[in-house]
């Protein structure tokens, strides 16, 4: 760990933009390298985000993974708490600036578009329109990535509370399984080898 060379923000954002363009590479989230594994800050306010930033980020995250169709989204998973904790890493300082200015920009756009106080006060339709206009920016790509990670990472990082992310996917949270695993091996194996299916 002492020899860890941390990716500068610029390199991270280039990587993030590349993921947005190529889509198929797993993003190297080196910026999360020192992410603390504690749950002490849960529901006690933010350690790093301002209340206004947290409010905007919460609205943004809720549009990436909405709480709809009767299933939990980013809100229930505690994604904003996850990102707040990511802000606490020393090497994340540069990226914090980009995300902070991006959040402020969201609020400004909400003001221009609908005369709202901030992004969180805008109508859902306006929020979506604002996000569509910026969805190829490094800010958007970076925060969208963090929202997804916060939704599906191990709950010890502060998001994916009560495994709601994994449950959303239909993934059973168990340390081991036994065959059969899915519908086809339950119903069609081993007779499948005769081509009867």
């Amino acid at each position: 760990m002492t020899h860890r060379e941390l990716l500068p923000r610029r390199a991270f954002l280039i990587d993030a933009a590349r993921v947005a363009a190529a889509g198929w590479l797993t993003l190297e989230v080196q910026l999360l390298a020192a992410c603390a594994r504690d749950t002490s800050s849960r529901d006690t306010g933010f350690a790093h985000l301002t209340i206004a930033e947290g409010r905007t980020l919460r609205a943004f995250a809720a549009q990436i993974l909405p709480s709809d169709d009767g299933t939990p989204g980013a809100e229930e998973a505690g994604v904003v708490s996850f990102i707040d904790r990511a802000f606490g890493m020393p090497f994340f300082a540069d990226s914090v600036t980009v995300i902070r200015s991006g959040l402020a920009d969201l609020d400004a756009r909400a003001n221009v578009l609908g005369g709202r106080r901030d992004f969180a006060s805008a109508s859902s339709a306006d929020q979506i329109a604002i996000m569509r206009a910026i969805e190829t920016t490094p800010f958007f790509v970076t925060v969208r990535t963090l929202v997804v990670i916060g939704m599906f990472a191990d709950p010890s990082y502060g998001g994916n509370r009560d495994h709601v992310g994994w449950s959303l996917l239909g993934s059973e949270h168990r340390p081991s399984f036994t065959a059969p695993f899915g519908w086809y091996d339950t119903h069609l194996a081993p007779g499948a080898s005769t081509g009867t299916a």
Partner: protein
């Protein structure tokens, strides 16, 4: 009562011991018989084989000694942060497409491998395909390829077969015979792992298209064997360590046996940065940084490099001397060259019913009908196809959905629910053409955190590699259609800019003018230096090279031991 739990962890009443506790240790000034750099696929095998017949062995490992009981399913740490990989510690590598280009920071996949006892066998998916007889003589069969260095191996499949069988039985491989298998002298020691839904679907598609599916061979226990658990189907083979010890990594197979001989020390957190030579051109041992960063030496009568295709290259190139101005064992100029990655391609499909690919070992069935190259296709290349799904929630949600689905919002979330448990991936594991220009060199400008030159990758896929990928993608798409997928999408084929398979950079051969080591893995230029790892491979096979790397290591160990006994080193 002594019993084994969690792989190599030995539980004796309340006392928990680990293999490294009580291991034999050697003083630096003592010249041991062998110092082996690397404790991975090849290093672990060499250590066990040489220590078992009585030689004193020190294995140098740059990473830590993790126990299976420490392994978790933490996707953020393992797959996003890459905690275990070289790129977490030394992320700076450079890349260029051709030697005429200026190297720039590699923001792509990079040269990647695992640091730690057991090396990449700890986190690999453990697919154990044998090469076929044709793999060793493709130059003779296929002829020359413009712009490429296709060559026959100095050994044949028949010479290597007994060692493939040794891997089956001593490492622990599960599987079942198939119609295209090369000859084998002994059956698999264990039956195959249970079939998965994806295997059923691949088999159904194969039957409809007149092809043949067979169980995939794995270095994973399908039953209790050798004091280790059977696979518990947790679904985290690829990229993760097996907390049950069911995956036959060298960490839980040969390394504990090497330690148990009382002849072998595995020295962890030690980074070898130079092989020393004397005025007679013989290797005298290695120089390394220990865990505290102190420079230390280990003298040895013979040195074996098994540090993977990238680090073995680095060590040879940096170990210059007046006698070896271009690097050790590099009179051919081919150290670091003929790098091969193994091309691949993938097609995804969504099915009506749940497949739950996140459960069970990473693959179920394979199709080897297109393994051999075929002159009628008009290009060099072949491959095997399997149903393999190494995606977990974060990785899947970030990058696997079809491109016509939005990447955020209600439709995105709905698609995640609809697709994660219903998606199957068919993948072609393919050849790479060996080309001299594709190489690992030392970057002249950029340094890593220890002040060493960064690794520079020069790589451009051969035109036949690209053709092979597209040809196979048409096959995996046809299979996905035949399997009955209700939605099909391709993984875009992109130029290679890194890999976990680092092959060919110290190739074997009979002619010292165009190869680095001889048929016994002895460096042509240095009589007591041996190189045995992925770098030894002359051609790429069809992905999944570890089975062959370990067969080579078992064979090399036998010959090296004979040389040592007859004072021929």
């Amino acid at each position: 009562m002594v019993r084994y739990a969690s792989g190599s962890r030995c539980v004796d009443g309340d006392r928990v011991t680990t293999p490294q506790q009580g291991q034999r240790t050697y003083a630096e000034r003592d010249a041991v018989d062998f110092v082996i750099v690397g404790s991975g696929a090849a290093g672990g095998v060499l250590a066990k084989e040489l220590a078992t017949v009585g030689f004193n062995v020190v294995v140098m490992e740059q990473g830590p000694w993790r126990q299976p009981s420490e392994f978790t399913h933490d996707e953020l740490a393992i797959e996003q942060r890459h905690d275990w990989l070289n790129i977490a510690t030394e992320p700076y590598q450079t890349f260029r497409t051709t030697e005429a280009d200026a190297p720039r920071r590699n923001t792509g996949l990079n040269l990647r491998y695992m640091r730690g006892v057991g090396g990449s066998t700890v986190h690999f998916a453990a697919n154990y395909w044998r090469f076929r007889p044709s793999d060793f003589k493709e130059r003779s069969i296929f002829g020359s390829i413009p712009g490429a260095g296709l060559a026959d191996w100095p050994i044949t499949y028949e010479e290597l077969e007994p060692y493939y069988t040794k891997v089956d039985w001593e490492i622990g491989v599960s599987g079942a015979p198939g119609p295209f298998d090369p000859p084998r002298s002994r059956p698999y020691p264990m039956p195959p792992l249970p079939i998965k839904s994806s295997g059923v679907l691949l088999e159904r598609a194969a039957n409809r298209l007149g092809l043949h599916a067979q169980p995939a061979p794995f270095a994973i226990n399908s039953e209790l064997r050798d004091g280790r658990s059977a696979c518990m189907a947790c679904g985290r083979c690829a990229n993760y360590g097996c907390e049950f010890g069911a995956k036959s990594s060298t960490l839980v197979t040969v390394i504990p046996k090497a330690i148990a001989t009382g002849k072998c020390e595995v020295r962890t957190d030690c980074t070898v940065f130079r092989v020393d030579t004397d005025k007679n051109g013989r290797a005298t041992g290695v120089v390394y940084w220990d865990g505290e960063g102190r420079e230390r030496r280990q003298k040895a009568r013979a040195t074996i490099l098994a540090a993977n295709g990238a680090e073995t290259t680095r060590l040879l190139l940096v170990s210059t001397s007046p006698q070896f101005p271009h690097g050790l064992a590099n009179s051919s100029g081919n150290v670091g060259r003929y790098l091969m990655f193994n091309c691949y391609e993938s097609t995804f499909g969504r099915f009506e019913h749940p497949v739950n690919e996140y459960k069970g070992a990473v693959a179920g069935r394979i199709i080897l009908d297109f393994y051999e190259h075929d002159a009628k296709r008009g290009f060099y290349g072949g491959g095997g196809i399997d149903a393999r799904f190494p995606y977990n929630p974060i990785g899947f949600a970030l990058s696997i959905l079809p491109k016509d689905i939005p990447s955020w919002g209600s439709d995105y979330k709905r698609a995640l629910r609809d697709y994660y448990t219903h998606t199957v991936r068919f993948t072609g594991h393919l050849t790479s053409v060996p080309q001299r220009a594709n190489s690992i060199t030392l970057d002249s400008e950029h340094k890593d955190s220890r002040g060493r030159p960064s690794l520079c990758l020069t790589y451009e896929d051969h035109a036949d590699d690209r053709t092979t990928q597209h040809w196979f993608q048409a096959k995996t798409r046809a299979l996905m259609e035949a399997a009955g997928a209700n939605k099909i999408w391709d993984q875009p084929i992109a130029p290679s800019d890194g890999s976990v398979q680092l092959l060919g950079t110290a190739r074997m051969g009979n002619d010292p003018r165009d190869s680095v080591v001889d048929r016994y893995h002895r460096a042509h230029d240095v009589p007591n230096l041996f190189v045995c790892d992925g770098s030894s491979l002359v051609t790429s096979g069809r992905g999944n090279p570890t089975m062959t790397i370990q067969a080579l290591a078992f064979r090399a160990a036998e010959h090296i031991a004979q040389f040592a006994r007859s004072h021929a080193i």
